[in-house]
């Protein structure tokens, strides 16, 4: 009886594994996010708990702390207004020049705020789950960023949640450009899935000895996934690889992937 039961269990699991491993990626993604729906009550409880803790911590702040924070924000707001005014002037000038050259005008970014509700439960990937899905107009491959810089791209979309492949994940290649030297390069997958380290490796398409530590890395817009000029990070150090054919550089990411709480999704 026991052996028969074991054989039956082996048969059931083998058939199920073969079926689910051979599902088309789109179907597998939908099945995954449907199964993840089982955890929605827990995600809801965790979100409520977090907002309760936040509210409780706000209640404990002293009046002097709040006043100094308001002062800091007022100053920052004034600085940002000034920067926005300057940027508006530059933007209008850019639009006029583009019009005079007959180039298509740059469309402004539309964005949708999302909250990070879960992280990758293994060390095999760099992945997060956000609380917006197809119901909110999310689509696969939309860029995800914070105010500091690029975070990744949407990998799978469910009804109410989406999974985001972070920079450094094997499934999130990013075509970038070095702002100072205009060298094109590609962000490679991270050697470590520990997202706390905040570094990724970049490889140029040819040897570029001019690239130096401190240079800024931006998205190049090539590849069609990420719009151009989103900050990715800064070069930390460089080295020549493959007999000097290419340059490899370590990049400190602009966005802190270990402390993501809210992100922006760029929508068309």
């Amino acid at each position: 009886m026991s052996k028969r039961a074991h054989n039956l269990a082996i048969g059931i699991v083998a058939v199920l594994v073969l079926v689910v491993l051979n599902l088309p990626p789109a179907t597998a993604g939908r099945v995954k996010l449907a199964f993840a729906g089982l955890f929605l009550p827990l995600f809801g409880i965790a979100g409520s708990g977090q907002s309760f803790v936040d509210r409780a911590s706000y209640a404990l702040l002293t009046r002097s702390t709040l006043i100094s924070e308001v002062e800091r924000l007022r100053k920052e707001n004034a600085d940002l207004r000034l920067a926005a005014l300057q940027a508006q002037g530059a933007l209008a000038e850019n639009a006029r020049l583009r019009a005079s050259l007959g180039w298509t005008p740059k469309a402004p970014w539309k964005r949708r705020a999302a909250r990070v509700v879960g992280r990758e439960p293994t060390t095999f990937w760099r992945n997060i789950t956000i609380d917006v899905g197809a119901r909110d107009g999310m689509q696969v491959n939309q860029a995800v960023l914070t105010g500091d810089g690029l975070v990744g791209r949407i990998r799978d979309v469910g009804t109410t949640q989406s999974q985001v492949a972070l920079i450094g994940d094997p499934d999130c290649g990013v075509s970038v450009i070095i702002a100072e030297t205009r060298d094109n390069a590609v962000i490679q997958e991270a050697r470590s899935a520990a997202i706390g380290d905040g570094y990724v490796t970049l490889r140029t398409l040819q040897n570029s000895p001019d690239i130096l530590a401190g240079h800024q890395v931006l998205t190049s817009g090539l590849g069609g996934v990420f719009p151009r000029d989103i900050p990715v990070g800064r070069i930390v150090d460089t080295r020549a690889v493959d007999g000097g054919l290419y340059t490899e550089a370590r990049v400190k990411l602009a966005a802190n992937l270990n402390r993501l709480e809210e992100v922006w999704v760029l929508t068309p």
């Binding site: 269990a9 996010l33 955890f39 997202i195």
Partner: protein
């Protein structure tokens, strides 16, 4: 109430998988998320029948893959192999001994992520691997080694509380009592 301990086992797996996606500061500090599903599978394989063990493997494996970027179903074969091997040798394993529980937990905590990664490496995109992966295996083995005896204690108490008690029969029979003295 025989169904209750098994239901709670599935409930524990549900919570354990969810907990793996939370507590980012703890996972960041330790360098890897905390996974106790292998310890739960070992406990189920040693104390339940093959149907419950297989059900737990299917539920926990699919739940884990659904919250991860893993290919759907990649966690199932390693979890099932561990559950099946332990269940098949259930009668030979000294399951009440703590050291047996610890070593089974260590073995399962090491074998499941290693098996999953090996399986994922066979298809593209390949998962990230490096020194942190080794640390993940060490941490997983240690954690599951510690959690396995704890599962036995916690679920053992639950079983004691909710399972039907065996009827205890005494050898005492009033009609066979020897009565001394004159009546």
């Amino acid at each position: 109430m025989n169904w209750l301990p098994n239901t709670l086992l599935f409930f524990a797996a549900w919570l354990a998988v969810f907990a793996q996606t939370q507590f980012a500061p703890v996972a960041g500090l330790l360098g890897a998320p905390l996974c106790i599903v292998p310890a739960l599978v070992v406990y189920a394989a040693l104390t339940s029948n093959i149907a419950v063990t297989t059900g737990l493997v299917l539920f926990a494996g699919l739940a884990l893959d659904s919250l991860s970027a893993n290919r759907l179903g990649a966690s199932l074969p390693p979890l099932f192999v561990v559950g099946l091997l332990v269940h098949a040798r259930q009668h030979l394993i000294l399951r009440d001994q703590v050291y047996a529980q610890v070593w089974l937990g260590i073995g399962a905590g090491w074998a499941v992520p290693l098996g999953t990664q090996t399986l994922l490496s066979m298809v593209r995109p390949e998962p990230i691997s490096g020194w942190p992966t080794l640390w993940h295996l060490v941490l997983g083995a240690a954690l599951n080694g510690a959690m396995c005896p704890l599962c036995f204690v916690l679920f053992g108490r639950l079983r004691d509380a909710f399972d039907y008690k065996p009827v205890v029969e005494s050898s005492f029979r009033p009609d066979r009592q020897i009565k001394r003295g004159r009546s």
